[in-house]
């Protein structure tokens, strides 16, 4: 399946890119997506994740065509 991965703010700076396009076979979860995209880098513990622009837990399932995003705690307002 094909997954778009997006990074924001300090997490974007620390991975050094704003997005990835992953292609792979089989079912997977949000945290698997992180590991595939960043094999040697653990996800910082306070990170938030979204699938298709809704917040999700890291063990949520991901399906073909999803947009998965990782970012630090939000600081708007």
């Amino acid at each position: 399946m094909s997954i778009k991965v997006r990074y924001f703010a300090s997490l974007k700076e620390s991975v050094g890119r704003s997005e990835d396009s992953l292609e792979f076979a089989g079912l997977t979860t949000v945290s698997d997506v992180w590991c595939r995209a960043n094999p040697n880098k653990p996800l910082p513990s306070n990170s938030l994740a979204a699938v298709n622009m809704d917040y999700v837990e890291l063990d949520s399932a991901v399906k073909d065509g999803d947009e998965v995003a990782f970012f630090p705690p939000v600081t708007g307002g």
């Binding site: 970012f71 600081t75 708007g76 307002g77």
Partner: protein, 148 residues
Amino acid sequence: MIVKICAEPFDPWQETQAHQYSASDMEGKFGATCVFIGTMRDFNEGDDIKGMTLEHYPGMTEKQLEKIVAEASRQWPVIDALVVHRVGDILPNEPIVLVAVWTSHRGDAFDANRYIMEALKSRAPFWKKELLKSQAERWLVKNTDGYL
């Protein structure tokens, strides 16, 4: 109910006035308006701040803000609401966020506005990076709670 992301400085008074005047069906129907404006300060955590860059997640930010406004409207009898949030490069004294809520009664206007502000601060995907007077840059790490 309108949610707007704004890449240029905005005047919160003009925005609120224009929104209210454009909603002519509200005329005579609302008794209470509560407006909250968050403004950029020129100091934070003991440092002089020259400016700030506000990053967001286009699409998700609007989606989350609309969700928050809908939640508030389910909990309180909100007649209308306006949310405007700046992104991009911001200077001290410029407004960052505007939340305006129109209701029949004052308690609901205060409560719904405060709910929207707290939810926005904890869930809307925005990130602030401060530029210090020393030229150093730093990401804000987390927002504080608005209730004591």
